[in-house]
């Protein structure tokens, strides 16, 4: 009830570009100090939503609240936010120091205060030696650090990140990801982070909002999203390699499909108990039990190995289950060969069941 508990609140936000509805009746509550990741494939509206929060795009309807204040009509600079962009968007003709202090000078903040803030940001981000260089003389990772610094000196409670690591190579991305996480624990302010990379989302977020078609499909902790996806879209989107789906029917607490007959005892139904009818079961490749552990699994069956993809740390096996391809993730040292028959075990408690029509979790 009290708006002050929330750092950022999105209320019934709509945004249309002409006839195209980019955001539809979107609601999102973000607590103080939370790290929120907006995750989705391109065109899902995640960057649009971030731009609306920043005030860079005007919503067609609805409100944005930041720090208990309705900022829907406020300029970006008045909203108490700092923002980091994918292309870094550093002012190319200014030094790093110039980039960090330009906005502050413009806001007529006293010179010694500017110096103090720049020094603090440079210290936190370890960019002191770069202060007198121009962006062109910096590496991608250094540029992104300066871009974060520009948000940092604004002394604000909310940080917005718009795919900040997408322009970096894989190794640098992993390094900077850890730095951003460290920054969050150090500053403890609210961070809203847009990405299409599920690893970034899972590792950074306190809560993830998975978006599709301008709507939030699920908004909860990484753990919840991974283990209890609310719908088939989320289940399919999260996890790599992605979840196996098998269509079948539930009858009398049992799920049956070609090659499968699972007793659903131990499955945590949303409604408390099973309802009979058509359903889809989703099983993550890494939740398929193989080797000696199979004997402990509630359901066991034989599958034929079709393709083996060794990846070093694990091995991905494409098998045939009841005439359909089925992915199994095994240990990297597992030795399996094409054409072999392999015994696997499934645990209904770790599976997810979805309604065939609504695709919602059962």
């Amino acid at each position: 009830m009290n708006a002050d508990n929330f750092s950022v609140q999105i209320k019934d936000l709509d945004l249309n570009f002409g006839a195209v509805k980019v955001l539809r009746g979107l609601n999102l509550d973000i607590n103080n100090g939370e790290f929120i990741v907006l995750l989705g494939s391109s065109g899902c509206g995640k960057s649009t939503l971030l731009n609306c929060i920043a005030g860079l795009l005007e919503p067609s309807d609805g409100q944005v609240w930041i720090g208990g204040k309705n900022v829907t009509w406020d300029e970006p600079s008045q909203r108490g936010i700092g923002m980091v962009f994918q292309s870094y968007a550093l002012y190319p003709q200014m030094t790093v120091r110039g980039n960090l202090s330009f906005g502050l000078k413009n806001a007529r903040i006293p010179r010694d205060e500017i110096e103090r803030r720049v020094a603090r940001a440079a210290g936190i981000l370890q960019i002191e030696p770069l202060l007198d260089r121009k962006p062109a003389a910096l590496s991608g990772g250094q540029r992104q650090r300066v871009a974060i610094g520009r948000a940092l000196v604004r002394d604000v409670d909310v940080f917005l990140f718009d795919e900040p690591l997408s322009n970096l190579d894989a190794k640098l991305r992993a390094d900077l990801r850890v730095e951003i996480k460290r920054l969050h624990t150090q500053l403890n302010n609210t961070m809203i982070y847009v990405t299409h990379d599920q690893v970034e989302a899972m590792t950074l977020a306190d809560r993830i909002a998975i978006m599709k078609g301008g709507k939030v499909m699920q908004y909860s902790t990484p753990d919840e999203i991974y283990n209890r996806p609310q719908n088939k879209y989320v289940a399919d989107f999260i996890g790599s390699p992605s979840m196996n789906f098998v269509e079948g029917t539930i009858k009398g607490g049992k799920f049956t499909a070609p090659g499968l007959a699972l007793d659903l005892k131990g499955y945590d139904f949303v409604g408390g108990k099973a309802t009979d009818g058509a359903a889809v079961i989703g099983i993550r490749p890494e939740h398929v039990v193989t080797g000696e552990l199979v004997s402990g699994a509630p359901f066991q069956t034989d599958v034929t190995v079709d393709i083996v993809e060794p990846m070093g740390s694990d091995t991905l096996v494409w098998a045939d289950l009841g005439g359909a391809p089925f992915r199994i993730r095994m240990d990297g040292q597992a030795r399996v060969h094409r054409g072999e028959t392999m015994r696997v075990g499934l645990e209904p408690a770790r599976a997810s069941l979805f309604d065939v029509k609504t695709e919602e979790r059962l």
Partner: protein, 302 residues
Amino acid sequence: MANASTNIAAAGPRGPKPRRAISGRNIMIYGTLGLVALYYALPLYVMIVTSLKGMPEVRLGHIFAPPVEITFQPWVKAWAQACTGLNCDGLSRGFWNSVRILIPSVVISIAVASVNGYALVNWKFKGSETFFTILIFGSFIPYQVMLYPIVILLREMGIYGTLGGLVMVHTIFGMPILTLLFRNYFTSVPEELFKAARVDGAGFWGIYFRIMLPMSMPIFVVAIILQVTGIWNDFLFGVVFTKPDLYPMTVQLNNIVNSVQGVKEYNVNMAATMITGLVPLTVYFISGKLFVRGIAAGAVKG
């Protein structure tokens, strides 16, 4: 608009910030642009209205007033009767001269430059880049520096003062910009395509006609727009390299309007000016963004 999921009464600002359509900023922007547009459009307007007035009305001096009585007589006179020197068969002579200059010049200059650009991109040979660099820098040399040597060259070839000579001059001076245009375009064609065609056994001309040419229609249109307006508007080459009965339209127009003999017929002059401007204006208004693309290509140095 109360929504069940919203637990706080949605008070205060929501949706887009209301803006007055007539804000100070808008008045400034549209006002300035409107005035500027007026300044730019005015000469065309004056040209048209003057050309539709009779001389008595022109002498009244209401240059901005629309014609009281519309007459097409000035247009007829400009086209068929206006005098240059002893000839009094109007601008039509210059018009047809310009057409006869334009068509071969456009075709030949574009053919030469497109093949040249293609050779520069896909069939580099030793020195090809050097020649191209000289070509581009050469385009900055004032024409006056090269006028007389070309006169000698054409005279030696026996085509000085002929249409053929002028076509050659247009081909030469159109080459830098057109070659640049085609070279930049062909560079953007994936090299794999060229390699695949070579593996399939196609040669220099085979690849040009069967692959490059069909893929490059847009850039050919841009080149045509550029050349049609450029060659039609040329004055200097026309006056230097042709003889009076072959003068292109611009030269004849200038001779008609700026002749010192006789009474000045401003309405006929404006009709003549308008007729001369019609070809490039038509190309401009029809081609729209392609025209912009053509001149932008000229602005971006390779």
